[in-house]
């Protein structure tokens, strides 16, 4: 059950005498303040006649942060499926660090029910041909069921993965045994379900905001972006933990940052590939009901500027900067690109949601800022236990200079 944390804990105590905490009391207090600011900002937004902006910010942030948390667990599942053990138990603890936000995100999903009239245009103006699919009870039933399955499966995978059997397999990289049977099954189920459920989320919570528009590849594009956001979040965490944990931790090994940099680089290309795949089909067809979605975002200010920023942050910069080996191994460069990537993911989700609902809105204001800070605080707060486990694992498997 929860024996693995104790095993890791004793291993650390044997080496350094204490289990280090990633964050101090002051930092936790700051996070709590951020959460309170978010709640206050959301409430004030609702009270001051900006309810639409408050709910849009809520939806954008839910998509961003739940995507990172879920993508991280899927990354761990991908490590099991590829039998990756380039960083022992640490790589699994790192990818699973954000799992704590998944149950909270599931609860927050139900909050959308109260803002449905402001979020979903088809609630007040139903489209007769699509009413069988786009109606409130069915949407919340299917998405709620999907997210419930994902939550249960993710928690199960992380619990198994932190268990003694999986941890023994993760550590023993000289052994070419397959991962434990239940890990293999859970990982496959989770990876497949992720593709299905997050496509559904993309269609229901993003594409349905412009109910006339459709793109078949949109679901794939959406969960590909979520997966990438988890990869950049792990890269940021690795760079931060590397600096915080002193001279002897697993993240000091330059090949680890190299590997994370390769993942950031590769899936950035995958993301732009999916962008272009959708773009070229719509461009060729040139049908107004398909092109308006892109024209509005790429040729009309202020969205035009955000579109360019997203492509630069999510593809141009990672591609050009991380092309070589040395930038990937540099914590400062990889960390900067990864932080930029997180900003890019946030802007991308914003760009997918808001122009559909408020075509001519001024993009940002205090409501969006406060709600985002609240979600950020809640996300980091939920991730702290996982990050502590990551730190313990990184210290238990320190990098040996002569390896």
């Amino acid at each position: 059950m929860s024996s693995e944390p104790q095993i890791v804990g004793t291993a650390i105590q044997g080496r350094t005498g204490q289990v280090p905490a990633v964050a101090g009391g002051a930092f936790k207090a700051l996070l709590v303040v951020l959460v309170l600011l978010g709640i206050v900002g959301f409430g004030l937004g609702l009270a001051s006649g900006q309810a639409d902006r408050a709910w849009q910010a809520y939806l954008v942030n839910l998509l961003v942060w739940l995507g990172i948390a879920q993508g991280g667990v899927v990354l761990s599942a991908a490590f099991y499926l590829t039998q990756g053990r380039w960083l022992g138990t640490t790589q699994y603890r790192l990818a699973e660090a954000f799992v704590g936000f998944i149950p909270l995100g599931f609860i927050l999903f139900w909050g959308l029910y109260f803002g449905r009239t402001l979020i979903f245009p088809w609630v007040l103006h139903p489209i007769p041909q699509k009413a069988a699919w786009l109606n409130t009870p069915f949407l919340f039933a299917r998405d709620g069921l999907g997210l419930a399955l994902m939550t249960v499966l993710s928690l199960a995978l992380v619990r198994l993965s932190r268990g003694p059997q999986a941890a023994a397999w993760q550590r023993d990289s000289a052994d070419i045994e397959m991962p434990p049977r239940e890990m293999r099954r859970t990982a496959v189920a989770l990876a497949i379900l992720f593709a299905v459920v997050y496509s559904l989320i993309a269609f229901d919570l993003v594409m349905s905001l412009a109910p006339q528009w459709h793109s078949t590849l949109f679901g794939w594009y959406f969960f590909g972006g979520a997966f990438w956001s988890a990869i950049v979040a792990t890269a940021v965490s690795a760079v931060v933990l590397r600096a915080r944990l002193g001279a002897h931790n697993a993240f000091r090994n330059p090949t680890v940052l190299h590997d994370l940099g390769k993942l950031v680089f590769a899936f950035s290309i995958f993301w732009v590939y999916l962008v272009f795949s959708q773009y070229i089909v719509i461009w060729y067809g040139n049908i107004p009901v398909e092109t308006f979605f892109i024209v509005h975002r790429v040729y009309h200010m202020p969205w035009e500027a955000i579109s360019y920023a997203v492509v630069i942050l999510m593809w141009v910069a990672p591609f050009l900067v991380l092309l070589g080996v040395r930038p990937k191994k540099s914590p400062a460069i990889l960390g900067t690109i990864a932080c930029g990537g997180l900003v890019g993911v946030w802007l991308e989700r914003y760009l997918l949601v808001v122009p559909s609902l408020s075509p001519r809105a001024i993009p940002f204001g205090w409501v969006q800022l406060l709600v985002t800070l609240g979600f950020l605080g809640a996300f980091v707060l939920c991730s702290l236990p996982g990050l502590n486990l990551t730190a313990a694992a990184a210290l238990a498997e320190p990098w040996e200079e002569h390896e």
Partner: protein, 170 residues
């Protein structure tokens, strides 16, 4: 009788072979040639091999591919104007696909050519000192040196764990 001679040594293990190369390099013979039955990072490191020149071939080929694709797509569009759906004659989005494909094609072909050129393949003369054992289960090190230095290099090879040390017939 003086002049360069070639000493051939065989090794049963990779690390002994790599170790002998490192020692030989500090002793500065005229040339060292190594035969390995397997690709070995250990030996590559010992030889002090620089980064492969094939990389430059791939880059050049890739850039040439992109330029060729631009010439092909834009050139044919100008040569035979087809207005489709009110789009400009030179509409770049679909050209990206051709540019990507030709970049991969030219890059790939120049990688193969670069490899063949740099590996001097096909080779019709077998390098001196080669023995079929070096394609089987033995590593071979051939040292070219002055006649007077030969005993010194022979002892270096023996100390590094060579199984057999002999002279290549001149």
């Amino acid at each position: 009788m003086s002049g360069p001679v070639e000493i051939v040594a065989s090794f049963a293990d990779e690390s002994g072979c790599a170790g002998s190369i490192e020692k030989l390099r500090t002793a500065k013979p005229i040339a060292v040639r190594v035969f390995s039955p397997i690709p070995s990072h250990h030996i590559e490191h010992a030889i002090g091999k620089r980064k492969s020149p094939v990389r430059a071939f791939v880059l050049t080929g890739g850039i040439l591919g992109v330029i060729s694709a631009l010439a092909l797509t834009i050139g044919t569009s100008w040569e035979w104007n087809l207005v489709v759906g009110g789009k400009p004659i030179v509409s770049w989005p679909p050209f990206i696909v051709i540019m990507f494909e030709l970049m991969v094609l030219f890059g790939g072909i120049s990688a193969v050519l670069g490899f063949l050129l740099n590996a001097r393949v096909p080779a019709f003369e077998i390098d001196a000192g080669y023995s079929s054992r070096f394609s089987g289960d033995r590593f071979g090190v051939v040292v070219r040196c002055e006649e007077g230095d030969s005993t010194r290099f022979e002892s270096i090879l023996r100390d590094a764990g060579a199984e057999e040390v002999g002279r290549e017939a001149a």
